[in-house]
């Protein structure tokens, strides 16, 4: 029997980019199902359109950059970007909105910087922010939970997406999100808001539908943690900071209260952000210590913008701001290499 001569390392990891991305996409599934259940199939529609546009833009950009189109398309990173963008957009977003968002995500934020691994900013969040500051009206018309069962038909939904027809009774179908309501509370006490506003009807702590969507994303995130796709440092420090800050400023629910910790943790895009966006390996800080700082920064910024800023939700802005800071954080949180003594206050020079 001939002995195989193989040099070390003898144990290989099975993770490749496409496997990781496939797992992330899989982990999005419960969240997407919850969204569909509570807000109708608008998000599904978004996601399908997003995937189509993102893959096409990616293919065109790769072709122009003379890269191997099939190889880079099959790493699924564009699909994950498309998924995140599609989830973040309001349901039944018009097709041109999705096309512009996909263009900025894939072409401007990713391929112009050199493709996957070279992008300093999270592509999906760049697309989302460009849309948010360019088309504030289209980007803030969320459907109220359970719109589907109230009779928002398939045909009407598709007409909105492709022909730009507003729903025949648009006002009946659009509503503010819980974070909107709390922000523009017209000087009502929180407990009154919970009783009067329909977005809190039948809800336990963070708005009808929203709490379930966030719980589903939390579940997906825990699956990814279990599969060791990312470490706990960034998401937990982000959620922890958000919880601590919102508890500090809660003040028992007066009319100037920015909302309870549970509202902040389980409303808007908190869980999606914490487990699917903050953990992006390309744009976050690298070391574990750096990731804690990075997560704390995002959590603090989210709360500051939600409580005192102009926008009701702030995941995208906070993530982009901390993406800026990630190289800086890396510089100051370089782990000590084995055998080297760390000089106090000075990052080791190579």
């Amino acid at each position: 029997m001939a002995l195989l001569k193989i040099t070390s390392p003898h144990v290989h990891g099975t993770n490749s980019t496409s496997r990781v991305m496939a797992k992330v996409a899989l982990a999005c599934a419960p969240g997407i199902m919850a969204l569909t259940l509570w807000f109708g199939f608008g998000s599904l529609c978004n996601i399908i359109l997003c995937i189509g546009f993102c893959l096409s833009f990616e293919a065109i950009a790769l072709k122009l950059r003379q890269r191997d189109v099939r190889f880079f398309l099959s790493d699924f990173s564009a699909v994950v970007t498309a998924l995140l963008l599609g989830i973040a957009l309001p349901p039944f977003a018009p097709w041109w909105l999705i096309a512009i968002g996909s263009f900025f995500s894939i072409v401007v934020a990713k391929q112009l910087y050199g493709g996957l691994g070279f992008n300093p900013f999270n592509p999906a969040m760049v697309g989302y922010v460009v849309l948010l500051i360019s088309f504030p009206v289209e980007m803030t018309t969320w459907l109220p939970a359970m719109a589907n069962s109230q009779g928002l038909g398939t045909i009407e939904g598709l007409a909105q997406v492709f022909a730009g027809h507003a729903f025949t009774s648009l006002d009946a179908y659009t509503g503010a999100t819980p974070l909107d309501i709390v922000k523009q509370n017209s000087s009502a006490v929180l407990s009154d808001l919970y009783q009067q506003q329909s977005v809190f009807k039948n809800s336990h702590f963070a708005g009808t539908g929203w709490e379930w969507v966030n719980l589903a994303f939390l579940g997906g995130g825990i699956y990814l943690l279990w599969r060791k796709i990312f470490t706990w440092h960034a998401p937990i420090s982000m959620l922890g900071t958000l919880a601590v800050l919102s508890a500090l400023f809660y003040d028992g629910g007066s009319s100037s209260s920015p909302g309870s910790p549970l509202l902040h943790l389980f409303s808007g895009g908190t869980m999606l952000g914490a487990f699917f966006i903050v953990t992006d390996p390309v744009t976050s800080a690298v070391s574990n210590k750096g990731r804690v700082v990075y997560g704390i920064g995002i959590g603090a910024l989210v709360f500051v913008i939600r409580a005192w800023g102009n926008y009701p939700d702030a995941i995208a802005f906070s993530v982009l701001l901390m993406n800026f800071a990630a190289p800086f954080i890396d510089y100051y949180t370089q782990p000590r290499t084995y055998g080297h003594v760390k000089k106090p206050g000075k990052p080791s020079q190579k």
Binding site: I100, V108, V130, I133, S134, F135, P136
Partner: protein, 236 residues
């Protein structure tokens, strides 16, 4: 290529203040939200640039090195104040729109840069031409960015041109995508300025690379082993 042609080529293309030297980025990014704003500020900068270049060139032998820079800044500031007062008198609305960016022309590095690098070492006529060509290069880039941002952001071109050209220009507005165009706000907001400016710089670099490539191709290749010919005396 004589001196004047070289100065012109430098100002508009090879050493363009906005695309190559990257000077004066503050007004370049801040006021190019529309064509008319870009034109107003571009013309004002050009006037100051010509004036300061000529004046600096006149006094170039009278000021010592020690007080050179303060003197240049004084000259530039005077011309800027003149321009500001002129705009206040003749294009008051545009003056109000451009606001702080007119007095800020003083701090436009390309003006002090040209005064120091060119006008203080050259005669009056070349200095005047240099000021004009550098100003023209800056103005053209401003107009290009302003036009692109206005078209993408608002779907119009030449809107509000009456601020600069009087009542006759009131109906110059072109609706590129029809009246229903919703506007793509990000182009008018600050990020749009960075994106458009960056893309223009990229475009210029690509064009230069293409030109270089073509020049290299057209060069006659010298065959290996061929010998040099030495010529002596004059060839008539």
């Amino acid at each position: 290529m004589n001196q004047y042609q070289e100065i012109s080529l430098n100002g508009i293309w090879k050493n363009n203040p906005a695309l190559v030297q990257l000077l004066g980025l503050c007004p370049l990014l801040a006021v190019t939200g529309s064509f008319v704003n870009a034109m107003g500020l571009g013309l004002a900068t050009m006037v100051v640039l010509i004036g300061s270049n000529v004046s600096v060139s006149i006094i170039r032998n009278a000021v010592s090195d020690a007080i050179k820079l303060p003197a240049f800044v004084m000259i530039i500031a005077s011309f800027t104040t003149c321009t500001e007062l002129l705009m206040q008198a003749f294009t008051y609305e545009l003056y109000q729109i451009l606001g702080i960016f007119i007095p800020l022309i003083v701090t436009n590095c390309s003006i002090l840069g040209r005064a120091d690098a060119f006008a203080s070492k050259n005669k009056i006529l070349p200095s005047a031409l240099d000021g004009f060509m550098m100003g023209l290069g800056f103005l053209l880039v401003l107009l290009l960015i302003g036009g692109i941002r206005e078209i993408i952001g608002n779907g119009t071109l030449f809107a509000n041109m009456h601020l600069l050209f009087g009542e006759a220009a009131k109906n110059w507005t072109l609706h590129i995508f029809g009246e229903q165009y919703k506007g793509f706000l990000v182009a008018v907001l600050p990020p749009g300025a960075f994106l458009v400016a960056g893309l223009l710089i990229a475009l210029k670099n690509i064009t230069d690379a293409k030109i270089q490539q073509r020049l290299a191709q057209n060069k006659v290749k010298v065959a290996k082993g061929s010998k040099r010919v030495r010529t002596t005396g004059q060839i008539a």
